[in-house]
Symmetry: D3
Subunit: 184 residues, 6 copies
């Protein structure tokens, strides 16, 4: 089992908070850069609190927590607007990110250890052990965003043109279709 609790800091606080608290109010009718804030009278301690591991029932919530079977991986992806800090709570993970100079920086991270993935760089986590791993991820943005490298290329709507993919990966259309089918 591979459990990832994504603790997106759900406060409209980057860049720079201009008041004490701006708790995100995503359902505001007015769209702006980032979230609008809740009325301060409606702010409670629950807005600063995340039940996390204490409440395993919340797994698979909208923010993006992921449950994957053992000996599997969280495939290469990136967060265009946030640095990620990963805390391993149980088990161990092989993790890595690649710089714009195509340098892989990787590490096996064990229970109680921490690893940082710089903003917008491609990274992955893989549980190579034979027991479950549980992690907490924190981001320094209210809206980090996530895209899987494979999904944006092979599973978008509408599709990325086949010739872009065959040229990029130097594979043929059949190979492209195989990957597309395995993802849908």
């Amino acid at each position: 089992l591979f459990i990832q609790f994504v603790v997106s800091i759900a406060y409209a606080s980057d860049p720079d908070a201009l008041q004490d608290l701006c708790v995100a109010f995503p359902s505001s009718s007015v769209k702006m850069n980032g979230f609008a804030c809740k009325e301060e009278a409606n702010v409670t301690e629950a807005d600063f609190f995340f039940a996390g591991l204490a409440n395993p029932g919340v797994i698979n919530n909208a923010t993006g927590s992921v449950v994957t079977a053992a000996n599997t991986s969280n495939p290469p992806h990136t967060h265009p607007r946030a640095t990620e800090i990963l805390f391993v709570l149980e088990g161990e993970l092989d993790v890595g990110f690649i710089t714009t100079a195509n340098k892989l920086i990787s590490k096996t991270v064990k229970e109680g250890e921490v690893f940082v993935f710089p903003k917008a760089l491609v990274h992955f986590q893989k549980n190579n052990g034979d027991k479950p791993a549980a992690v907490i991820s924190a981001f320094d943005s209210q809206l980090p965003g996530t895209f899987s490298i494979v999904a944006v290329l092979f599973n978008s709507t509408p599709s990325v043109p086949d010739d872009v993919l065959t040229h990029a990966f130097q594979i043929d259309t059949q190979d492209v279709d195989k990957i597309k089918n395995s993802l849908s």
Copy 2:
């Protein structure tokens, strides 16, 4: 026992990284706003890694991790340049912060739960249980800074004038001396 591992994100990355990586190089001879960066050739995976709980020997390191006996507290303090995210790994803590409208927002946070303390606001953590609590704190700044409310007022060098303190707390000079003595 109350254990706090302070995971200061030691990267020169706020505001906004302008390159992939800027690993803090505090011993640079040139002083600037924030830290200078290590030469990229000297950057390794260790720079993104923190042994944390996996290596209890690093307790009491320079960054400010704290070990306190059970039934005690991390007294009121603030981080002038960072929001803090607290993860409870073991035990439970009563925590709270106070807004500029003098409103206390508090919560009992248990194992696996998370709480957020907004930037520059006064907050505290107290272990009211009868067993140890261990937490990890993450900050969104390379140099969050910390000052204890009591220490800046009663234990600075040189001292804050007595009449400022007696007037502020409406206590007499003897009371001020008592607090000063208990701190040194």
Copy 3:
């Protein structure tokens, strides 16, 4: 007499104005990070103007100007989101702030002199003279925020737990109550 005119720059302009003018419109129904802006058609020269000392009747306005009797002080407080620049217009003040390294930086500031208190650090002003002092304070944020160290700890709603305070100040519950009573 100790008069402090707080010139909060009431423009929604940090971080970075994106248009010529964004005069704060605090009564907007939509909450965002910082203030919404007034319709530009309703902006007049009055929005850039502050009567200040020329109109002593405005003392005690909502922004927070303070009138204190002579030989008294503006007790230790901090502005979580702004650097303060203080101009002494009349009289003289003993002022100081304390860094996160518990270093006190203090000075007697006289008529026509200026002093700066860095963002989010604890500072105080005390009129030790026998005549009134009048000052103007300017902030580099639309919403600097202010909290008195003593008030957030001893006068919040709900109260900070007694045991947090007795432990922090190393005083007993009776002492805590004495301070609480003197503040209410």
Copy 4:
């Protein structure tokens, strides 16, 4: 007499200080965006202090304070990187700024009053009274920059080509020369 004390906040603090103090160290051999910082051990209370009006001898210092005879003006100019707050200490001034919609916003500002000039907009101050005026100006940048509209056009090195000026002002070369001569 028209006296202007320019209190440029000489701290390397925008955007966002990353440590308690970064006192500008302009003579550092390394050039960066903004100033390098003084070694913290060399920081004293004098770095936060400005003698201002208390010490009239410092008039005409390098930061740009200006002394102008009565019934004269501080001609149209702009600060490309700062909003200016002007406090009138003595006398009165007619002041104004012009928006990018060519709207003039102006006001007579008297002793004890305050006026704000938004970042990078053209503004002017004129003493129309028969007695001296003294003001303090504060900026929200360590390096506001100043250029007089007339000086950048008619007194630069090398010169702005005559045909650019004759076309812009719809005047002839003789008029351009007249203005150039009166400035040098």
Copy 5:
């Protein structure tokens, strides 16, 4: 002929986008610092596209494209909130800007060449050739703002007082009137 296509990047994206896309929605009823965003469901590829030179009919649109006869100039002006990058598509231009140290930095820029004008500094472009010049300008702000130096001084509403202008340019009231008349 002198054609300038102003490609104002019409996205509410400075400082720092907090989500993937925030396409400017200038007609929002709520005013904020910068533009509100279009509902994401209404965003299409047209929002990222500018027909530019391919569609000469759009000249003189609201964003500010300019058509000037040959042997003329785009007079001294500034953009208070943006750096400008100029690409010469046809013909050649003499361009320049002046620093706050009154230093003119100028260059003849030919077809296929690029020049940069730093944020908020006064600059000009002049077509000294005998054939048309066409350029594209890009800005790093959603709302760069533009003011002509001459227009803000001689063509504002209400007018800048005559004595401010006569004093600044060292010309007489008749000269001021002559310039005002030639502009209206």
Copy 6:
């Protein structure tokens, strides 16, 4: 032929210039977040100038300009720290980017037209025509960074583990090796 001139704005100007000019000085011995600045005395008009298309000999310079044969593509890639504005000077291109909601936004962009790729999102350009295309790209960062999706995954040093790739793309090790070989 597919020609791309990359006009990286080589000024140390984000976030927010604190002085008039900070021309990047990459060879400074001190590493900081972004580039150090050239001594202002050494700044000339050449620092603001880019010969671009006027000087086809500079193709393939260090900044990253690309020459590709006709009917080929600039494969899926991203710039972690910059929005890109693309100007088509000759020919036409099929371009697109994919949001974090896996939505493809694409367009055929012709001579004289402009397209924008938001910061850190995956995008591609493909010349489907039978004649060359030439473009200019501008970025809003001094150091946009670029990584090809395929290259970071299949051509890093050291290599991304095979099992991460086979799992992500749902292909076997042979397929991974095929792609790796075609790239080296």
